[in-house]
Symmetry: C2
Subunit: 399 residues, 2 copies
């Protein structure tokens, strides 16, 4: 009987620990096939440095709390593995896989992590090791290729929609309102920023900018001026990845001499102040987009759990080098199916919003709303203690 | 029979519309004494410019939704009234009070708004007008004098505690972590920032800075350096009002030539980068602190509602020039009583955290935890539609 190891990789999402929960639960259904359930400390680092802990020794209640715990509970890393299999890192990984009799490796992550997944699967195959390697997708950016959507994105979108709607409502109640520029995560793809389009008219931003469209600074300034004159306030949603010419003369430099750009929202506020002389406020939604349990979507949570389970089931069936993907069968009623796809096809690809889903810089198209709407539905019941969300704390007992 | 007018003033809180809800409900209990229920558009501006709307014409469901709607639904202003009663503004106010047969004026706001409340009450008294003026307290800063706490503060604290706890959990899962500096509202008083002290050890910030304590930049740098070396990451909570010497050579200036200081968190990150060469991330919690319905405290909501009701009852009893205050009878079990206090005593005073509640820059004292703990308890059930919080939208039918 072989043991399994679960790896969390890259940036967290609000449901990344729910996938882990699903995998643990499913593994416990097969005590005849899976021995120990190990967690790798800080992503792939744990497997490299023989730093694993036994998740079978954690309390039942702690495991239940994974579903409402932010961050990556096993610890994470952004380390990329080298291309060359002769690198000594791979020797260490294989050594630890053998030492701990590991037959199942699960890697839960985004694009870079699927590359890691691909590498380890290939290496085990080359060495003819009986190790199954399965990828569990996650990224709040929703930019993984092939799959209909990525786990964590629906909850992040739900957070963004509700928080931006509430900010806009607050912003618009002042008689002399400001220009509010709200910066939303997404360097390459605008899925998360575009989600604000689902808000009703009263709380929807006036302007929406995503990296998929060209940002024209001159038009932006004119739009802001006109909207402020008409409405008394302006609310703008922009992706962090929106590109525009910036004055870098005052920018600070890091130790390598690279220019450190301030956030786009802060810089646009500075330009508005200079050119239009209007009061401004820049708001970065920041880490709560991927960490706030209050807006976890039930659909996202259910799917995260199901994916963890399916990962274990697939490995037990002998699948390897695959990632779980979603295929949408219908948006209304919402129906998806899960499937397996070669992880090599997914790794390092980027999925952007297709042009037919974009209308202009004030609205997305109907197709976008139809796509996103079912994903954010359903609320979850959170466990609070004295007003504070209870988070899982692992004992992390070393193997 | 006289009419009433309700005024919302200054910055919103997550429960400011709940006080309005309470006042409307109570007024509707006295159809023999109160005629129309008017809302003043954008705070005192509506009463100055004859811009009132009839809240009696709104739908029942819209009124219910006030309890989960952010912003100030009637519109707000930060305008201060002049000291001199001969100012023509007062003539306009009195004219509109007479024109609309107003006998009851309710002003829901913070320190500056209580000054407005005081002025109007005094003026009506001087002119021997039969108009009762009552103040309803609110401010997320919790810095109103005399009262045990201010409405809106408990929900803002609950938001801050939960969001900071989740940010810290996310921040600490990386193997090479950053220095996270989280900026929390509160220019003069640190009540809101200090609230993070209630978090359990695993998610509590390493350092907590409030305006009530002296901030030593040199010690701060050394603490950050030591904690990062030991823990691999640092989480710092600071009040926006924390004062330290800043490099203003690159600062932008507004149209009056005043230096526009960047947020303290961003500036401290810049200094850490320069001196310690550690990766940093600055996070401003910003508007969601006063606008996020997800973390409304049940205690805060119940008290906001009760205060709206008591304001109407007090005016009907003939009270005027008073603000509602809370007196704490016991913390465990939590017991308060509401009372009336001369609004003149409250206006423009500031309540700071007493020194005996502060331990050092890593923890508050037990007395602080005992004070805050009961205020954040209890969650409310929110109405969502397709994953989005439903917010009240008033028809605002002009009088």
């Amino acid at each position: 009987m072989k043991n399994m190891v679960y790896i969390q990789s890259g940036g967290p999402t609000s449901v990344i620990n729910t996938s882990l929960y699903g995998a643990i639960k499913e593994a416990q259904n097969h005590p005849d096939k899976i021995g120990h359930i190990f967690g790798s400390n800080h992503g792939i680092e744990g497997l490299i440095n023989d730093d694993l802990f036994d998740l079978g020794l954690e309390d039942e209640h702690t495991i239940e709390l994974l579903k409402q715990t932010p961050g990556s509970i096993l610890g994470t890393t952004r380390r990329k593995l080298p291309k060359d299999f002769h690198d000594p890192i791979y020797m260490k990984i294989i050594e630890n896989i053998k030492k701990h009799n590991i037959g199942y490796v699960f890697i839960n992550g985004g694009n870079d992590s699927m590359d890691t997944c691909n590498q380890i699967a290939k290496l085990c195959e080359e060495l003819a090791l009986d190790v199954k390697v399965i990828g569990v997708p996650k990224t709040i950016d929703n930019d993984l290729a092939i799959t209909d959507h990525s786990l964590g994105f629906p909850s992040a979108a739900k957070h963004v929609i509700n928080i931006v709607g509430q900010i806009a409502t607050d912003a618009r109640c002042f008689i002399h309102g400001k220009v509010h520029i709200i910066e939303i995560m997404g360097r390459n793809a605008g899925w998360l920023t575009a989600s604000v389009d689902l808000l009703p008219e009263a709380s929807r931003p006036d302007l929406i900018y995503i990296p998929e469209s060209i940002f024209n600074l001159k038009e932006f300034m004119e739009d802001v001026r006109v909207i402020h004159r008409k409405r008394g306030s302006v609310v703008v949603a922009i992706s962090e990845g929106v590109d525009f010419p910036r004055d870098v003369s005052n920018a600070r430099r890091d130790s390598f001499g690279h220019i450190q750009l301030e956030g786009g929202a802060a810089e646009l506020c500075r330009l508005i102040d200079e050119e239009l002389n209007l009061p401004t406020r820049s708001i970065e939604l920041s880490i709560p987009q991927r960490a706030d349990a209050a807006y976890i979507s039930k659909v996202d949570q259910d799917e995260a759990l199901a994916t963890g389970k399916l990962a274990v089931q697939s490995a037990l069936k002998g699948e390897t080098g695959k990632m779980i993907i979603f295929r949408r069968l219908s948006s209304s009623p919402y129906k998806i199916e899960m499937a397996l796809e070669d992880v090599g096809k997914i790794a390092n690809e980027v999925s952007m919003i297709p042009q037919e889903m974009i209308k202009d810089n004030t609205r997305m198209g109907d197709a976008y709303r139809k796509y996103l709407s079912p994903l954010i539905k359903g609320e979850i019941a959170l466990e609070f203690k004295d007003g504070i969300i209870v988070m899982a704390e692992l004992k992390k007992i070393k193997v």
